[in-house]
């Protein structure tokens, strides 16, 4: 991968990638693996990008696809993953990925959600319009609207129960 491509096409969007990868991983090691794989996939698929959407949307799409695929593979291998019911109540050292305590709590709560709900809320929090979220996730804007309301309620409930 040329450093030019990395500097111009990946690094400015590293925030997006980090936010998504953090939501699907529980350790620094996994996070770094996911991040690397996303970068690799972006590089691999660069020729398939035909300006049909913004580059940032492309990056979101690839990041989510990579995370969901990785997660599926790990689940199949029987590695990690706790279901939302058995997620630890406390934020572990590994989960303290950010300096901001509330953000760590929000991430811990997001990890209680299903994989798709996580994707929806991440895109919503990134202020992507419902139409674009629907486009990325292959559903309808109405469905996203309803889902976001439900997810927000659930997140508030989790944060209140676990951390307040």
């Amino acid at each position: 991968m040329s450093s030019d491509f990395y500097q111009v096409s990946i690094l400015p969007f590293s925030g997006i990638i980090i936010k998504i990868c953090r939501a699907y991983t529980n350790s620094q090691e996994d996070f770094e693996d996911y991040y690397q794989e996303v970068c690799l996939q972006i590089w691999r698929s660069k020729d398939n990008f035909k300006n049909q959407c913004e580059w940032s949307t492309w990056v979101y799409r690839i990041s989510l696809n990579v995370c969901l695929t990785f997660l599926k593979k790990q689940k199949n291998k029987g590695q990690m993953y706790f279901s939302s019911d058995v997620l630890p109540n406390l934020i572990t050292v590994e989960n303290k990925a950010f300096k901001n305590e509330s953000l760590n709590q929000l991430y811990a709560a997001i990890k209680h959600l299903s994989e798709i709900d996580r994707a929806v809320i991440l895109l919503y929090l990134e202020e992507k319009p419902n139409k674009e979220i629907a486009n990325i996730l292959g559903t309808t804007p109405n469905n996203i609207g309803v889902r976001v309301i439900r997810i927000k309620k659930r997140l508030k409930k989790i944060i209140n129960e676990k951390f307040n």
């Binding site: 991968m1 509330s102 944060i159």
Partner: protein, 216 residues
């Protein structure tokens, strides 16, 4: 909960530059390791399967009254398993401390050598397997006296050598020779069937790494 989740998100990421970007210079290390581990695992399963079949075959052959042929095939299979195991041990000699690319290249080279050696061994094993199977069939035939009599009466023109029709002996010889000459093709087809997908993945990964290197 004091703030809405939107506020927590926004405020949390206000100083987004503080997000630490992981290093990506070791891009393929995990990938290479997983790939090689998977191939090793497949080899191991293959060896275990060969040993299990080798243990099971004499029993089956005993039941069909062809114990010696069963033992023959079993010995051949056990030799194959031993040879494969011996080859697998040499993987350890590969330089794991090298870069992912070097490691994959040396593994690929090892794999090609191993397949080539197997081809040479199987050039003699396949005809032997075929001969043993034919001998099982022919010895079962020899025990069917009534059937042989009926057959020789129905086809009086067929030449017999002992109890065996000459044409079956000719088929056996031709079959054995074909096994010898086409052993390489049969083995390659066999390898493709079992390991085809993973070997293609190895090839693709090496190609990608080379492409990455070119762009650096």
């Amino acid at each position: 909960m004091k703030n809405s989740i939107e506020t927590i998100w926004k405020e949390g990421f206000l100083n987004e530059k503080s997000l630490v970007v992981p290093k990506i210079n070791d891009l393929y290390s995990q990938k290479s390791k997983h790939l090689v581990d998977k191939i090793k695992r497949m080899f191991k399963i293959n060896i275990i399967t060969i040993i299990l079949v080798a243990l099971l075959l004499p029993v089956i052959y005993y039941l069909i009254d062809a114990i010696w042929q069963g033992i023959g095939i079993s010995i051949l299979l056990l030799c194959t398993a031993w040879y494969s195991k011996k080859q697998m041990k040499s993987i350890k000699a590969l330089n794991q401390g090298a870069t992912s690319y070097d490691y994959l290249i040396s593994f690929d080279q090892w794999l090609k050598n191993a397949l080539l050696k197997n081809e040479n061994v199987l050039r003699f094993s396949y005809p032997l397997y075929f001969l043993i199977v034919m001998s099982t069939i022919l010895s079962a035939w020899s025990k069917q006296e009534k059937l042989i009599t009926k057959f020789s009466r129905k086809y009086p023109d067929i030449v017999f050598i002992g109890d065996i029709p000459l044409f079956t002996l000719i088929i056996t010889v031709i079959g054995t020779l074909m096994m010898f000459f086409f052993s390489r093709k049969i083995y390659r087809w066999d390898v493709k069937l079992v390991y085809g997908r993973i070997l293609k993945k190895l090839e693709e990964t090496i190609y990608e790494m080379e492409k990455l290197k070119e762009e650096e």
